[in-house]
Symmetry: C2
Subunit: 260 residues, 2 copies
């Protein structure tokens, strides 16, 4: 397909590379920052543009991979072309596009992307929504060229997915950071816990998290929890969080036992 990419951030970069590798033609890359547009355009052999009015209608699909609050403005600017348009946002309704363009949809990659890190895009779950069945078939065909994990998800479900992703990714990463701070404050290297972090994530690739829970809270090990709270005496924020999360583990366990 002939694709124009509206955006040059993490999602645009990884999706653009995957599409290019799958043999699609990336026509143009737009970013309000020409340098950013040029960098991605160079990688996917496209034309960089920094004015949305330079986006040509000579494309089969526009992919808007921009900040959520920029999507309506971009969609409005591109409306006159009436080219099939999708966005890649987890938190934005398809309606936001439908106001401007008849044939539209969503292609939401449920993954955490950093520009400096390679991702095996074939494993990335792509959550699709479309304004019609015909459009759905086109978007699905495109998606299948880059990923083996395709899901059909409506706007309400996608909002829930996006929320779940915060709990599955953003918050765990915050907790990794807290672990790193605790270690650094005592002259210990973050390397010591890296295998533990990886194994914790690997376990739930097969098990459900409720089956994989370990630690002092699930064992009701009051002595260890008290010792941990004492170690956090100088960090009241972490101490309070330790209490809340331990209580939640105990609640989860009780819920689990009642369900069994």
């Amino acid at each position: 397909m002939r694709i124009s990419l509206i955006g040059s951030g993490n999602v645009a970069t990884h999706l653009g590379a995957a599409l290019k590798n799958a043999g699609h033609h990336i026509a143009q890359v737009y970013s309000p920052n020409l340098q950013n547009a040029a960098l991605l355009a160079y990688h996917v052999k496209a034309e960089p543009v920094d004015n949305i009015d330079q986006i040509s209608p000579q494309a089969d699909i526009f992919i808007i991979a921009a900040k959520d609050d920029a999507i309506p403005g971009i969609a409005g600017s591109l409306a006159r072309h009436q080219v099939l348009t999708v966005h890649t946002s987890g938190a934005t309704d398809m309606n936001t596009l439908q106001q401007y363009v008849e044939n539209c949809g969503v292609l939401y990659p449920l993954q955490t992307f950093s520009k400096t890190r390679e991702v095996d895009f074939r494993q990335v779950p792509l959550c699709l929504e479309a304004s019609s069945y015909e459009v759905y078939l086109i978007i699905r065909e495109l998606a299948q060229t880059v990923s083996n994990n395709i899901y059909q998800v409506d706007s309400q479900q996608r909002r829930v997915l996006h929320l779940a992703a915060v709990f599955a990714c953003n918050f765990p990463n915050l907790l990794y950071n807290m672990a790193q701070q605790i270690l650094a404050g005592n002259g210990l290297d973050f390397n010591i816990v890296r295998p533990l972090i990886l194994e914790t994530a690997q376990k739930v690739q097969e098990l459900l998290p409720s089956q994989a829970q370990t630690g002092p809270a699930i064992r009701r090990d009051e002595q260890t929890m008290a010792a941990h709270l004492a170690l956090l005496a100088q960090q009241p924020g972490l101490q309070e969080l330790y209490k809340i999360l331990s209580q939640e583990i105990i609640k989860m366990d009780i819920g689990q036992r009642q369900a069994d």
Copy 2:
């Protein structure tokens, strides 16, 4: 070495298997539950015993892999043999053993173990402490036969490590469970977020967590955070936690910027 294992839980099971595979002789396995002792003893070709007084002094080392609060009692019962004794606990001081036996130490595997899941033990960080340099050399030699990740860590550092492990493993798993509950409550499959969970952990194998943070809080995306909080209106516990953790991400980011 000729080893007796005091305990038959997750740590005893994985450590016992790794030691057996490394060519050591497991003499006896003790558990107050004979069936549990017998199961592990069968796998490591040892004699199962359910009475601590049946533990023979014919061993180079006793490895106590038992619940934290059981360690002093076990150490007391074995004291008359004065065999080199280590425990595997992250939260128990070496002192607990030293009261009873002169040559002692700690061999703390910093990993999350489930009986049903294989772990590559060579990657498991082993945190060692010993009552003397001579004892340290013996424990280290033993540890090196099963793992490539050996650290010397004193009792105070081990307490901190154990605390950090709660933030790196137990709490993230709780958040995975919350994600799973949120998805299940909306008819969505946990499989959709499994690749995200894995990638989040894989990212920090190279990066620091502060470099890997993504999501609405770090972007100060107030609109998305408000939408997420609205979705959690019926679950005040999760809603409150979402607020607290998002605030912590923002604080982390401010701290990071000031440090840069």
